[in-house]
């Protein structure tokens, strides 16, 4: 993945509007957070291949860390802490946030076809 280029990502986000798309949404601090540090909590969530339609999509940020919001007819999809992006298999938009050690902390992925696995 490479650092987010906001104009490119915004352009691609727009192409998914008003279509049935598959979304992967995730945040995690790992299964060992509390094992390594007693004061830490294990927190994580992921949703894979949820089929949704959003009418508006926007990515906002300060040049290094970004937030994305997808506006649906009834509700929102939101991700914060996004740092990197890539197109997977040319058609799937992957956005992710990594920590200093390169570990994934958050991801938002959109595709017109389902994600594998």
């Amino acid at each position: 993945m490479k650092p987010i280029e906001i104009d490119n990502v915004q352009h691609i986000l727009n192409q998914y509007t008003n279509k049935k798309v598959y979304v992967h949404l995730e945040t995690t601090n790992g299964a060992y957070a509390n094992h390594i540090n007693k004061a830490a909590y294990n927190v994580g969530v992921y949703m894979r291949n949820a089929q949704v339609t959003f009418e508006q999509a926007k990515i906002v940020g300060d040049g290094s860390v970004y937030r994305a919001g997808l506006k649906m007819e009834m509700g929102w999809i939101y991700a914060e802490g996004l740092t990197d992006w890539t197109m997977h298999e040319d058609t799937k938009l992957l956005l992710a946030g990594h920590d200093r050690e390169g570990r994934l902390m958050v991801s938002l992925q959109i595709s017109e076809t389902p994600f594998n696995y």
Partner: protein, 223 residues
């Protein structure tokens, strides 16, 4: 009876971190070892450092790393096809029957797995429980011995001293080679041993100390 070992862990790299020395020792003695790997670690958060994997490329990358590690450890591999982080939500009885079917075929004399409730990661606990149930479902005459590995910070306080303590110092280099074949994961996991106030050589000593022994408890079946 001819000795045969089956290792049952959920993630590519569990075998290298947890039991590489033990596996290498068995292989040196000519004992066949098969790894039943539950998932491809699809949901791992380590993507390499600097990251070279992403959520979608990670499974294939980890599969290749797993094949490489099994080559280094000279053991057979069977991938079970479950999904990372979901094992505890499967029907454990079904997973146990799935494992039993494979164990009936391979006829191991020893099964190595995680100690349920003391193995930190929910996948470890769930697959360990399924493996122990799978062996329980076998006729008592055909049951292999089960070595269960605990990982939690408190396990020795609760479970007492492990029954099997393998000093694997002689296999340490090769174990590290197996660990580092999991390129996407090794740096992240070993990075836990790094602290700002420690010299690099101390970190190496910590890693050597931590990974030179492999502990297991012999599972006691009551029926």
């Amino acid at each position: 009876m001819e000795k045969r070992v089956v290792v049952i862990y959920p993630h590519p790299d569990d075998e290298s971190f947890g039991a590489a020395g033990t596996i290498l020792k068995f292989r040196e003695e000519g004992v066949p070892v098969t790894y039943l790997c539950g998932t491809l670690g699809e949901m791992g958060r380590n993507m390499g450092n600097p990251p070279f994997a992403n959520r979608e490329t990670l499974p294939e990358i980890r599969k290749a790393e797993l094949l490489n590690a099994c080559h280094i450890l000279d053991m057979d591999l069977k991938m079970l096809g479950y999904r990372d982080k979901t094992l505890e939500f499967e029907d454990i009885r079904e997973v146990a029957l799935h494992l039993k079917q494979i164990l009936d075929e391979l006829k191991p004399t020893l099964v190595i797995t995680h100690y349920p409730d003391y193995a930190v990661h929910p996948d470890h606990n769930a697959l360990g429980a399924a493996a122990i149930e799978a062996v329980q479902l076998m006729d008592t005459a055909n049951r292999p011995e089960v070595w269960a590995q605990a990982i939690s910070n408190n396990y020795m306080d609760v479970l007492g001293k492990p029954d099997i303590v393998n000093d694997i110092t002689n296999y340490f280099e090769k174990k590290m080679e197996a660990i580092f074949s999991h390129d996407s994961q090794a740096a992240g996991v070993l990075g836990q041993f790094k602290h700002v106030d420690k010299l690099e050589s101390d970190v190496q000593d910590d890693i050597k100390k931590r990974f030179s022994k492999e502990h297991f408890y012999r599972w006691k079946y009551t029926d």
